[in-house]
Amino acid sequence: MMTGMAEHYLVFLELRNGAIAKSSLDVWNRFQKFSSGRDSRVSAFAAGHAAEGAFDCLQGNGTVYHTDGTHFRTGCDSVVCAMIETLSGAERVTGIAFASTAMGRRLAAFLAGRLRAAFFSGCGGSGGVEKVCSRFIHSGTVIASYAAAADMTIFLQGRELPQPEFSSAEKPAIEAFDATPYVVGGIHSLLVHAVSQSCQKRDVAEASVVVAGGRGMGTREAFGMLEELAALLDGSVGASRAAVDEGWRPHSYQIGQTGKRIAPDLYIACGISGALQHLAGIRSARTVVAVNSDPDAPIFGAADYGIVGEVREVIPDLIGILRDVMAKK
């Protein structure tokens, strides 16, 4: 690692429907906050269509390089990676940061291979921005710590890190990045043809409140009350493996070892027993509430609040009470 050289971070800003994804904005703010008052810089790269004023939400210094190519709306990662690679070389970037989204995870791993970078994924605590990473391994039963041993570090960050609070009177400069040299007509090896929307507004991995159901829900229809509770709390619905295996919810809802790892501020587990494999997925949840009819269910050992009872009685009651409270405010 070269010492004495100022760090220069490049944050990848993912554009969704013309706007910066909230998870990317968090990464930007985290690095801005870390860099303010230090001898380090933060820049950003955004590829794709940006709506008018899409970058107005960014505060802090640095430059946002934006390329508004229609050419790679097809989702051609390799073109985006090639541009980031060039930009990092030209701007002497020492760290590239991605939000842990489907696209972020693909780009981060590919670029780490290209650039021989230390790969910091899912690091908690201060490891978000520094050259040391502490992360869960083995289903969240062990924390491993690593030091980066490369000139370049690639950061992949999700909700496991605290929400950054950053504000500044400064605004970054927006600079157009010319994509033309990177786009060679007609030889895309990979083309996205269609995108179908999920019925879920927000993915469980990105939600600040998650309400999930397990086998104890009993039926597919019973998930309706979880949808209702989640809507009330502006959250998303998840499911345990048992509920997914029953066919009550698609796999994209699954939380756990072979599903998604979530990190909401509030997690409400309904009729979920709490097998080790499920607990592996909720290790980064901040507050856990468990509703289960079995007082000995292991989920209570991982919960901050619990209620022993039938989900089909407790949840409608809870919805009613919360609705009253919220109506009164």
Partner: protein, 252 residues
């Protein structure tokens, strides 16, 4: 079609991992094929059944012998197996490098048509090897997929993002990783296990792979035990959550 599947073994999902003197103690762990890798092997074997003349090679990077793992993949229908012995393979980049070097030796002219991996290994859950391997082989990476349909010229894939599902077309060669939902891996019987014993397993030593880009500093066991406050009614629970600020009366 020339298909390579990269697999690994992980501790059984129920295994409890001990930490002793800052090091992982895996002595009492039983090992299984990484579940996501099972989907990858299954998909490769299905493609082999679809395209006659195809060959499925499974590869693993391992510190010690991994015969059982490879035997299982062979029993599922892979044609041959390669065991790449390398020291200290916790680092995704070292694993990807060992695979890339071996693949370049095995396929010196053009890369294999399809390289399949599991989405991530359940032990380290880094999910980095497939993307890194694609970069090192200089071929496209399509990410984790939940559906795959192949023709001789291209693959039609589905993958999930935060908003829904993407349908994409990919030309060979490509690296793909297997997500849950891709298929249901077949069970193997005595006959398949016996047949697998006749299939070749090569052992190749790759001592000089890339230096590690992550230096382990230490391991620490985590206690997951929380102390749960029990409420007797939904009303009491709501009260606790509101009072402690986990739910705001203003919503959200």
């Amino acid at each position: 079609m020339r298909i390579v599947v990269c697999i690994c073994q992980v501790p059984d999902t129920a295994a409890s991992i001990a930490v002793a003197d800052g090091e992982l103690d895996l002595a009492r762990v039983s090992w299984v094929m990484n579940p996501y890798d099972e989907y990858a092997v299954e998909e490769a074997v299905r493609l082999k059944e679809q395209f006659t003349g195809s060959e499925v090679v499974v590869m693993t990077v391992t510190e010690g012998p991994a015969r059982e793992l490879l035997q299982k993949a062979l029993a599922m229908g892979a044609d041959r197996a390669v065991e790449l012995l390398a020291p200290s393979v916790q680092d995704s980049f070292r694993i990807a490098s060992a695979l890339a070097v071996s693949l370049r030796e095995r396929y010196p002219q053009t890369p294999p048509d399809l390289v399949l991996c599991g989405k991530e290994s359940l032990d380290y859950q880094n999910g980095a090897v497939p993307g890194m391997l694609a970069a090192l082989l200089d071929i496209a990476f399509a990410g984790p997929v939940t559906s795959l349909a192949a023709t001789g010229e291209m693959l039609e894939l589905q993958r999930e993002n935060e908003n829904g599902t993407e349908l994409l077309h990919v030309r060979y060669p490509v690296v793909i990783s297997a997500e849950k939902g891709l298929n249901i891996p077949r069970k193997t019987g005595i006959r398949q296990v016996m047949e697998a014993r006749k299939k070749p397993i090569e052992t190749i030593s790759v001592p000089d792979i890339q230096a590690s880009l992550l230096l382990p500093l230490g391991f620490e066991a985590v206690s997951v035990k929380k102390s749960c406050r029990f409420a007797k009614s939904a009303g009491e629970l709501a009260g606790m959550l509101l009072q402690d600020g986990h739910i705001s009366a203003g919503g959200g």
